[in-house]
């Protein structure tokens, strides 16, 4: 499955948390990415997440928060197997994900250090002991 962030989510992406921008990494994860990735997971399909396109660039925090949450909820191993991030225009985002986001969020997952949410979200998918469960995993809304 292919999902182009600029085409299928928003031309204008924001920063890490929804408190500061409507199209934040937090919002993208909870409104789109978690659900799409879950579908790919159940169907054993690769998700080609395309960053190319649009005039506005990403912030590092948008990508870190959205893809980092995916690592937290599905493990780095599953994300590596099923997520193909495509960034031919700006290949440095791939380096950022590989060197910072993936190891950081996998470590957070191992330590149980959940993401902060800045608004209430509906239930979302998470891999627990090899099975996917859907729940509101974080209830405390942070002021950041």
């Amino acid at each position: 499955m292919e999902f182009n962030i600029h085409r299928d989510y928003s031309e204008d992406t924001g920063i890490r948390h929804s408190k500061y921008s409507e199209t934040s990494g937090e919002d993208f994860y909870h409104e789109k990415l978690n659900d799409i990735f879950y579908k790919c997971y159940t169907e054993g399909e690769i998700l080609h997440l395309v960053l190319d396109g649009g005039d506005d660039g990403y912030t590092p925090s948008f990508l870190d928060e959205s893809i980092g949450n995916l690592v937290y909820d599905f493990t780095l191993e599953v994300v590596r197997n099923l997520l193909d991030v495509v960034s031919t225009w700006e290949p440095y985002w791939l380096t950022l994900l590989e060197n910072k986001t993936y190891p950081k969020w996998e470590k957070r997952r191992e330590m149980g250090e959940q993401a902060k949410i800045t608004k209430v979200h509906g239930p979302w998918y998470r891999l627990v002991n090899g099975h996917v469960e859907k729940s509101v995993w974080i209830t405390e809304v942070s002021s950041v």
Binding site: D12, T59, E90
Partner: protein, 167 residues
Amino acid sequence: MSLTPSDWLSVSGLALSAMAMVVSAMVAIWIVDKLQRSLENRQQLKDHFSKEVLVVREQYRELVRNMTGSTQTPRQIRSSFKTTGIYASDLLQLLHTQFGTPVDMLIPFQTELLGIATDCEEYNNASRHNRKFKYRKTTIAQIIEFEKSHDKLFNNILMTIYNENER
């Protein structure tokens, strides 16, 4: 006095030797010329790419000047980083092919500097309505400090171009 057959053989042998020497000399001149042109072309290529590197350095310097000296919207800042980042990535890819320059040499400018510029409170506060804002002194100091400590990366790239044979 007429030439004997053996004289003719000697003369023709000499003529052939002379022709062979001329041809050898011409080939040698052609090879030297070719090498010279090739070296000149290589030098021209290096000079061309080094100018391109300096253009990218100037673009990042301008980005820093705009962030530290004027008001901008969050979208303007992201857009400028994107344009410059794409240009720099294309150039580094070419440098990698031509001179073996590592493609990730400008990652600090492409992601870390953008991180400083977009992770601060003033950027956050301006984000929702994409309004113009000015960075605070503490953020400006961080940006300038970053530029000072990473400006040498451009010289390091130039060194990979001109020192290609030393690697």
